[in-house]
Symmetry: D2
Subunit: 136 residues, 4 copies
């Protein structure tokens, strides 16, 4: 039911994000869709697709949500919406010239300073332990 997502097997033959990005660029170019792919439109489309992913979960209890992939129809919808979100995110990044992997690496580094591990030597006293402050 679940694809392996860790370990060497995950990358064996799997496409890289950059390869998929190039396929999306070619796909849109072949269909002459570039004029629609403005940063504003792609940001809207990304938000719409994230809503469609959330829709799968909106009426589920936490317990039902944890089992979402054991229902084949829901599992297909989840993979489909994950793909749409990632596709629009990658296309948005191409339109504005941002490298999403570099942006995430930089953010993780900022968050390691902003949210020090509890019990570590220098705890930031300004961090509210409330869950609302979770960055990730």
């Amino acid at each position: 039911m679940s694809e392996r997502v860790t370990g060497p097997a995950a990358s064996g033959g799997a496409p890289t994000l950059e390869e998929l990005r190039q396929r999306l660029v070619d796909f849109a170019a072949a269909r002459r869709w570039e004029p629609f792919h403005t940063p504003k439109n792609l940001a809207a489309a990304l938000s719409v697709e994230a809503g469609e992913l959330l829709e799968i979960f909106q009426w589920l209890t936490p317990e039902q949500a944890a089992e979402v992939m054991s229902d084949p129809d829901r599992a297909h919808r989840v993979r489909d919406e994950v793909a749409d979100v990632l596709a629009y995110l990658v296309q948005f990044c191409t339109a504005v010239g941002v490298d999403p992997l570099a942006a995430l690496a930089a953010k993780i580094e900022r968050n390691e300073h902003r949210f020090p591990v509890p019990g570590a030597a220098s705890v930031n006293p300004n961090v509210n332990p409330d869950a609302g402050d979770q960055p990730l």
Copy 2:
């Protein structure tokens, strides 16, 4: 202003999605945040962050939106929100056991059949040329 997003330089030393995924897993584990990272919560958080990215563009004209990265403050916000969206997408995928790169590769293949290139031998007559039918 814009990072290089194509060519060999982009991957030279840049982290892979799998490396970033592992750092996010470790980050959450060190802070004992896993109990919050249910599929339903992460789908909600992903949608919230996609909304924050859209917020940057909501009052901009298409022309202003095309120049968004020439304003340093806006450019920083764009990179920051891209990172948040990608972080939650990756963490959601980890929680449900989906490989986002495999999901996107499968979707691109389905779309290549669903939206044939105009003028190609067998055009699907059921495809409405209206932009609303764009998958990506």
Copy 3:
């Protein structure tokens, strides 16, 4: 903590939706904001604000979410985001010439046919009892 939301007291002196709509029109006109208030921008802003309302709940358990109004700060945020969502919905409707109360009344009537009460004489056999089919 909670305002009375039913009974005659609720409407005694309270503004109507139409009165609030007119105040929003005047407010935007006085600040010359009408050029920003296009249907597309307002639909984006509505979605962004709905995300901000959801953000309050994203890490809460169902039990914590049920008690959200007992925390004064969260209660204020909830009221503030409800106001923003309603404001943009009303302004969107003004921009496209739709009466939101008439639209909702028509939808309720359609749903009364689409989702007959279980056990009533003519149950629609096509309705999937799965929660995903809930319209409202």
Copy 4:
């Protein structure tokens, strides 16, 4: 194409928000849907529906978006999504005990102080004229 949204005709015989709220309460009770209607679920559903409204506009130019109601199919979708957003907003407010009209009235008053009319006697020097600061 557009309903009258101003003037006495708009309220002549039209339902009030409170009347529609009561119908939604009765509708959910008859179908035993109350257990699904938690604050968190309704906030998620509201965000999902706001995304569906935005979806109508995502690929449209500002000019096409301004004419959205001249296409009967799109006009129907717009009314349908407006109804869904308002239905979930009202049901969310019922679940948390907030009066949406009172919340909006209070917010408009706060915004009248926060965003004084340009040229009026005491202009708030802290207000950034950038459109990003628009509250409504």
